[in-house]
C-alpha cells in the first residue's frame, strides 16, 4: 500500500505552537467578534490529509500566515501548499477546504482558494478548477467524491486542539 502513496514520507511539522487562546472580549457575548484569519485557520487546520492520518496543519499544507480575511468586504483568500509539487491530491485538498468553509462560514463570504505561488506544477489548472463554482457543485453531487471529502472533514472540528492518531 505505502509504495502507492503519492508522497510516502511527508515531513511532519510541530503544531503545538499556535492554539488559540480566547480573549476576554471573545468570551463576552455582548461584543461582536469579526471573523479573522485565526478563526478561518482553526476551521481548516485539522482537516485530514487524504492519504495520511495527519492534519493539513501537521503537513504544513495550511498555514495561519497564508490566510487573508477582509471581514468588512466579506472576502477570504486561502493559499495552501501541497506537500510535493506534483501532488495529484492538490485539487481534492482544496475541495475539502472549500467544503469546510461552505459549511461553516456565513453565506456572505466569498472564498478564494489557491495553491501557494510556486508550490505546484499545475498551479493554474488547480486554481481554476477550485474556483469554478459550477464544477465544485458538480463534484459535490458525486457521492463517491463527497464521501472522501467527508472523511477528510471528519477531524476538522478538532480545530488544532488534539492530534488525530490512527
Amino acid at each position: 500500500m505505502s509504495q502507492n502513496l503519492i508522497n510516502a514520507n511527508p515531513t511532519v511539522y510541530n503544531t503545538k505552537t499556535i492554539v488559540r487562546k480566547e480573549t476576554e472580549a471573545e468570551l463576552d457575548d455582548n461584543i461582536e467578534d469579526p471573523i479573522d484569519a485565526q478563526e478561518i485557520f482553526d476551521l481548516i487546520r485539522s482537516i485530514s490529509d487524504p492519504e495520511h492520518p495527519l492534519t493539513l496543519e501537521q503537513l504544513n499544507v495550511t498555514q495561519f500566515n497564508h490566510i487573508e480575511v477582509d471581514n468588512e468586504k466579506n472576502k477570504v483568500l486561502i493559499e495552501f501548499t501541497p506537500t510535493i509539487p506534483h501532488c495529484s491530491m492538490a485539487t481534492l485538498i482544496g475541495l475539502c477546504i472549500r467544503v469546510r468553509l461552505l459549511r461553516s462560514l456565513p453565506d456572505r463570504f466569498k472564498v478564494d482558494i489557491k495553491v501557494r505561488k510556486g508550490t505546484h506544477q499545475s498551479e493554474g489548472a488547480v486554481n481554476k478548477q477550485l474556483n469554478d463554482k459550477e464544477r465544485v457543485a458538480a463534484a459535490l453531487e458525486n457521492n463517491h467524491l463527497l464521501e472522501v471529502v467527508n472523511q477528510c472533514l471528519a477531524t476538522a472540528s478538532l480545530r488544532g486542539m488534539e492530534v488525530a492518531v490512527n
Binding site: D107, K133, E134
Partner: protein, 342 residues
C-alpha cells in the same frame, strides 16, 4: 439616471437557481435549479406585475442539477440540460408538462441547451468538451447531426444566432467558437480569443452581427462580425466571417461575470456575477465617433440584487410587451423580476 425597480421576488426553489428563460410570446418564465426542478412562473393578473405565482413544477426527469432551460421558438416545448448528462424535452400534454424525450450521448455534465431560431435544431454542450447539434424531427425524435470537439475544455454555454443557423459556444478554455454548416457538415468557422479566463456566457444582439461575452476575467467583451472584403479592411480567412473585439467593459464587475443578456428590444446589455450586482450597459451614441470602436456606458447598477449571494443568470424579456423587464436568479434560490425605469 435610469434605475432598476424590483417588481417581485419569487420563492420556491430549494437550491441555487442557475438560469432564467422567458417564453417567446407569453408572460411566462422558466427557471432551473440545483433542486433538480424547473419552475414556471406567471403573474397572477396581467395588470399587476408585482404578484407572481409558480404555475408548474417540472420534476422527476433528472437525477442531478438542472443547469439550463430553453424554450423552443413556438414556446410549446422546453429543453432542460442536466448534470446527469441527459437533455430533457418537455411538452404540454392536455393539462400538464411531461418529459416527452430524453437525449443521451454526452459523457458528463451538460452545461447548456439552446434551440435555433426556426426550432429546427437543438444544441447542447458539456464538460466532456463537446458541442452536439441535434435535428428536431417529428414526434419528439431527435437525430444527432454532429459532435463538435474542438474546444479543449469544459463548454459552458451555447447560443444560436437570432436569425441564421449559426451557433456560438463559450468555454473554460477561455475562447468562443462560431459554428456553421456546410452541406450537412458542421465546422468551426472562427475562434474568438481575448478573454483571460473562462467564458461563462454569450448573447447575440438583435441583428446577430454583434456578440457580447462575459468572463471569469471580470470583463465583458463586445465582438463584431466582419464579412470577407469588408470596407474596414479587417482581414478574413478562407472566405469566412471573422469576429473582433470592438469594446471591452472592464472595471465594473469585480468578481466573475456569470451571465449576460443583450436585449432584443432596447439594445441594452445586462450582466450579473459573483459580486452580487446587476449592471446595465448602453451604447453611448453621442460619444461613439467610430462604429469600429463604440463606447458603452454603465447606465444602471443594482448592488446586492440578491443580498450577499452570487447572481447566476440574467435575462431580458424577449419582446416589446415588457421590453423593460429583466429576470435574475441567484445562489439564494430566489428569482427576481426587475423593471428598468428610464
Amino acid at each position: 439616471m435610469p434605475r432598476l425597480e424590483l417588481l417581485a421576488t419569487l420563492e420556491g426553489h430549494q437550491d441555487r437557481v442557475w438560469q432564467a428563460s422567458w417564453h417567446p410570446s407569453k408572460t411566462l418564465l422558466a427557471t432551473c435549479s440545483g433542486d433538480k426542478t424547473v419552475r414556471l412562473w406567471a403573474p397572477l393578473s396581467l395588470t399587476d406585475p408585482t404578484q407572481w405565482q409558480c404555475v408548474e413544477t417540472l420534476e422527476g426527469a433528472h437525477k442531478r442539477t438542472i443547469r439550463s432551460v430553453a424554450w423552443s421558438n413556438t414556446g410549446n416545448e422546453l429543453a432542460t440540460a442536466s448534470f446527469d448528462a441527459t437533455t430533457g424535452i418537455w411538452e404540454y400534454d392536455r393539462d400538464n408538462w411531461e418529459c416527452a424525450a430524453t437525449l443521451e450521448g454526452h459523457e458528463n455534465e451538460i452545461k447548456s441547451v439552446a434551440w435555433s431560431a426556426t426550432g429546427a435544431l437543438l444544441a447542447t454542450c458539456s464538460r466532456d468538451k463537446s458541442v452536439w447539434i441535434w435535428e428536431v424531427e417529428a414526434d419528439n425524435d431527435f437525430e444527432c447531426l454532429s459532435v463538435l470537439q474542438e474546444h479543449t475544455q469544459d463548454v459552458k454555454m451555447v447560443v444560436w444566432h437570432p436569425k441564421l443557423e449559426i451557433l456560438a459556444s463559450a468555454s473554460y478554455d477561455d475562447t468562443i467558437k462560431i459554428w456553421k454548416e456546410d452541406e450537412d457538415d458542421w465546422y468551426c468557422a472562427d475562434t474568438l480569443t481575448g478573454h483571460q479566463s473562462t467564458v461563462w456566457s454569450i448573447d447575440f444582439d438583435a441583428s446577430g452581427e454583434h456578440l457580447v461575452s462575459a468572463s471569469d476575467d471580470e470583463t465583458l467583451r463586445i465582438w463584431k462580425m466582419y464579412k470577407p472584403n469588408n470596407p474596414q479592411g479587417i482581414p478574413t480567412h478562407n472566405g469566412e466571417e471573422t469576429w473582433k473585439t470592438i469594446c471591452t467593459l472592464s472595471g465594473y464587475h469585480n468578481r466573475c461575470v456569470y451571465s449576460v443578456s443583450w436585449s432584443k428590444v432596447n439594445g441594452y446589455i445586462a450582466s450579473v456575477g459573483g459580486d452580487n450586482s446587476v449592471r446595465i450597459f448602453a451604447k453611448d451614441v453621442e460619444a461613439t465617433e467610430d462604429e469600429e470602436s463604440p463606447i458603452y456606458k454603465n447606465i444602471a447598477t443594482e448592488q446586492d440584487a440578491h443580498g450577499v449571494y452570487d447572481i447566476n443568470g440574467v435575462s431580458w424579456f424577449p419582446n416589446k410587451t415588457h421590453g423593460d423587464w429583466l429576470a435574475t436568479v441567484g445562489d439564494d434560490g430566489m428569482v427576481r423580476i426587475w423593471r428598468l425605469i428610464e
